[in-house]
């Protein structure tokens, strides 16, 4: 009798859990007709249209959460869509949505030009290699601060709306609730301006002492050396390319990137590299493809983290770039991070911040999850 009761209780519990799991998918609608893809990226096959206003369940997400696998309850309409194409639903908490990490971010088989296939094939967020755990540990011995990050690059990176904005109290994560701990862990450190991120900077000036602020840096110190000394960061977000592509060749650019990566690793700082978005209408388009490939190759060579901003920004209007200059990433107009309105699917700067936060989240979990009190 007791065994029967237990069995009924168990079945009842399983049924309740199954029902609960079945009914927890948030229901959403697209605010305009949207294309559904076979995977979380615009290089995947286009399946069909999702008509505006048709309710669909958010059943899975990519690792970042900026793409959702949606389906009507009867499975009649299914496919992947950028999260920002859907009307905001306060019940959407990406931490509750199952992650589908099996489908790659891109499908190079559908890319018409072979030269960019490799760029599409590279994951948007690379895994954190075991080598970075050693780098972090060495950095801690050298006195680097675990919760301090810095940024290195040109005007796209110097922009106070990139990462620095995390230091503000008003950060609206919306559905990206899983990033909250990371924002609070690193946020404060982003308020300190970086000497190594300046307007007009390129890979060949980051080592030029003439570009170092004499009010902050020692005589003869390069901007990179000065910034690392002042901030003692554990992670450096590094992106170059838009300036270099105008005056440099891919081989020299790759060597300069290697120099920057080696300089960073020697100081126990994890360099997070990033490809850069570029428009095919720009006259330097083909050079930019080579430069971005160089970034990917250097990241692989040193097993350092890589953000493939180039691929992630392809579905955005004008590739997430300002229409006025085609170089800088366009912005939402808000002066704080705001992810409850789908900005990451429309504005380059919002997307770049999101990808950087996701990479930081992965790094934090890999590097400090075992720290006492964490």
């Amino acid at each position: 009798m007791a065994r029967k009761f237990t069995l009924v209780l168990l079945l009842g519990l399983l049924f309740t859990r199954a029902l609960s799991a079945q009914t927890t998918f948030p229901v959403m609608t697209a605010f305009q007709d949207a294309i559904l893809y076979a995977g979380p990226g615009d290089s995947h096959i286009q399946l069909r249209w999702l008509p505006a206003g048709v309710p669909v369940e958010a059943r899975e997400r990519n690792v970042i959460g900026n793409w959702l696998f949606v389906s009507t309850p009867d499975d009649g309409i299914r496919g992947w869509v950028p999260t920002g194409y859907l009307n905001a639903n306060p019940d959407l908490h990406l931490s509750d949505i199952p992650i589908n990490a099996e489908i790659p971010d891109g499908d190079p088989a559908n890319v018409p030009a072979l030269s960019v296939a490799s760029l599409y094939a590279t994951p948007i967020i690379s895994p954190v290699s075991a080598a970075m755990l050693d780098v972090f540990a060495r950095g801690q011995e050298l006195g680097n601060r675990a919760n301090v990050i810095t940024k290195v690059g040109d005007s796209l990176t110097a922009d106070p709306m990139y990462l620095t904005v995390i230091s503000q109290e008003a950060v609206v994560l919306g559905p990206y609730d899983y990033l909250a701990d990371t924002v609070s862990y690193y946020g404060e450190s982003t308020a300190l301006a970086s000497v190594a991120a300046q307007i007009g900077m390129a890979t060949y000036t980051v080592f030029d002492p003439m570009w170092a602020d004499p009010a902050l840096c020692n005589a003869g110190e390069s901007p990179l050396e000065c910034d690392y000394r002042r901030k003692l960061p554990s992670i450096a977000f590094i992106m170059f390319g838009p300036n270099d592509v105008l005056h440099n060749n891919a081989e020299e650019f790759a060597q300069n990137m290697r120099d920057i990566v080696e300089f960073t690793l020697e100081r126990g700082i994890i360099p997070v590299l990033s490809t850069f978005s570029y428009s095919p209408e720009n006259e330097y388009w083909w050079q930019s493809v080579d430069f971005n490939q160089a970034v990917i190759d250097v990241a692989a060579e040193y097993e350092v983290p890589l953000i493939n901003l180039w691929a992630a920004a392809r579905p955005l209007d004008n590739y997430g770039l300002e229409t006025t200059d085609g170089t800088h990433m366009n912005r939402s107009g808000f002066t704080f991070l705001k992810y409850d309105s789908g900005h990451e699917s429309w504005y380059g700067l919002s997307l770049r911040n999101l990808l950087s936060l996701k990479m930081l989240d992965d790094l934090r979990l890999a590097l400090i999850s075992d720290e006492p009190g964490d």
Binding site: D154, S155, Q198, I199, G200, M201, A202, Y204, T205, F207, D208, P209, M210, W211, P214, N218, A219, G220, E221, N243, L246, H247, N248, E252, D325
Partner: protein, 126 residues
Amino acid sequence: MYIMKRLGLILLLLTLAACGGAASGGDPADVVERYLTAKVAGDGDALRPLLCSPMEALFSREVNSFSTVEGARLENMDCTRQGDTDVVTCTGEIVATYGTETNRFPLSSYRVVQEDGEWKWCGESG
């Protein structure tokens, strides 16, 4: 005739003085000023002979340093050698624009060395 001889003598003395200057490598402050001018202009032909041997490997960095900004120019440059030392201190700044932003790079102190009798720029003075 006498005046012509005097003029010739003066010209000869001036030429010898100039040659003497060249033999001792010229004025290090002038070398630094020429280096800064060439760097800001991105003039590789003028820049290359002013770099000391260790800096030759950084030629690309030096000649491209201000290529990403527009209208880079030197303002109020004045360089002076510090006594008989290998340090030349400059005042003034490099001013450049990037879009609507203006960048200012204050000049500082630089190290000079003599190579084959010629003064060369050899980096910032730390």
